[in-house]
Symmetry: D3
Amino acid sequence: MPIIQIDVREGRSREDIHALQEALTNAVVDHFEAPREYVYVIVREHPGFNHYKAGEHLPEYGDEPEGLTIKRKPQAAE
Amino acid sequence: MPIIQIDVREGRSREDIHALQEALTNAVVDHFEAPREYVYVIVREHPGFNHYKAGEHLPEYGDEPEGLTIKRKPQAAE
Amino acid sequence: MPIIQIDVREGRSREDIHALQEALTNAVVDHFEAPREYVYVIVREHPGFNHYKAGEHLPEYGDEPEGLTIKRKPQAAE
Amino acid sequence: MPIIQIDVREGRSREDIHALQEALTNAVVDHFEAPREYVYVIVREHPGFNHYKAGEHLPEYGDEPEGLTIKRKPQAAE
Amino acid sequence: MPIIQIDVREGRSREDIHALQEALTNAVVDHFEAPREYVYVIVREHPGFNHYKAGEHLPEYGDEPEGLTIKRKPQAAE
Amino acid sequence: MPIIQIDVREGRSREDIHALQEALTNAVVDHFEAPREYVYVIVREHPGFNHYKAGEHLPEYGDEPEGLTIKRKPQAAE
């Protein structure tokens, strides 16, 4: 039973979290031939500040200036 | 930067592990709008015995009888 | 020093969390012959929604309909 | 579904690992009222050297001098 | 890319968390010759109660009596 | 008791691993005012292949071409 743990910034919508969990589940089902009922995904949310990458804190989710690489995703296609 | 940790049974081919890592990466890129260069996937491998689900050890990878739900994946489509 | 990490749904009482921590500690002391002072248990709590099992979110703790398998435990025998 | 992760020194017998996994499973079933089929235990093994506690490496499993607190467990009662 | 995960008690100031993240990053850069841009530190915060060491809950951060070993750090030198 | 988990590529010398563990321990002692005896560092080693960053496997440790950013560290100053 593959267990997937993912630590992300807090502040995403439930739709975003669901979409990610579903996509991760499908990734395992499709590529590891694991039965769907064996896949478990846990999402851990922490403030952007608690993520420290390359000596810089991540901005809080939603606080990035327009055009930055990490930004909110339009929910159209969910 | 989403970090994905996945603990699986040891014994998969490098092609399988690569395919899983790529699929997990894409799952995050597509559904969290995270830039690809920020996604990190770590695969940890342990004997099937070390995985204990519902009070039963998982069989070692490749040892499942024909027809069982967890089995080797044909590598055709990679 | 065995380190035990457990990710559960948020919403349990402190009594429940304590009982679990104590039981996990004893499990290690009794079966791994680890001295009690070396055992460390960390409990991480996340919304039920963040737990995604077999393609389904877990219900929030306490929200399960009567009779469901995951439910509140009576605290009588603690 | 409670997920239990435990990082221990490598070198234990399969009987020891099984006994620990079973005891941890029962701890969750008994004290969190989680159904047995939902409990998952992953045991990760690493050299004693990779465990660094209080500024000291743990000895490799089985290398402790007689009488030390961390030692091999007699398998009589399993 | 070394990933550092650290689970601590909640309640620290942002200055404390930053100082820790920076020190951990430098530890890896200096001693593993990892380029700074590859180091990632995630800090997870949980109530002291959720930390169970040697059969005892840790006190909540800031609640320790004067003179105890775990206490607030003066921020003078940051 | 801060627990530090770090997942790295396998192949480092014991001197390198020790130096990292010691530096991480000191980082916590110096910046979180945690007593040294409470700090625990676990180093998990995995093949470079199992580390997948930005859609690329890390090279195995020691296999990088001369001049690459991730390389072996001279052991002179340990």
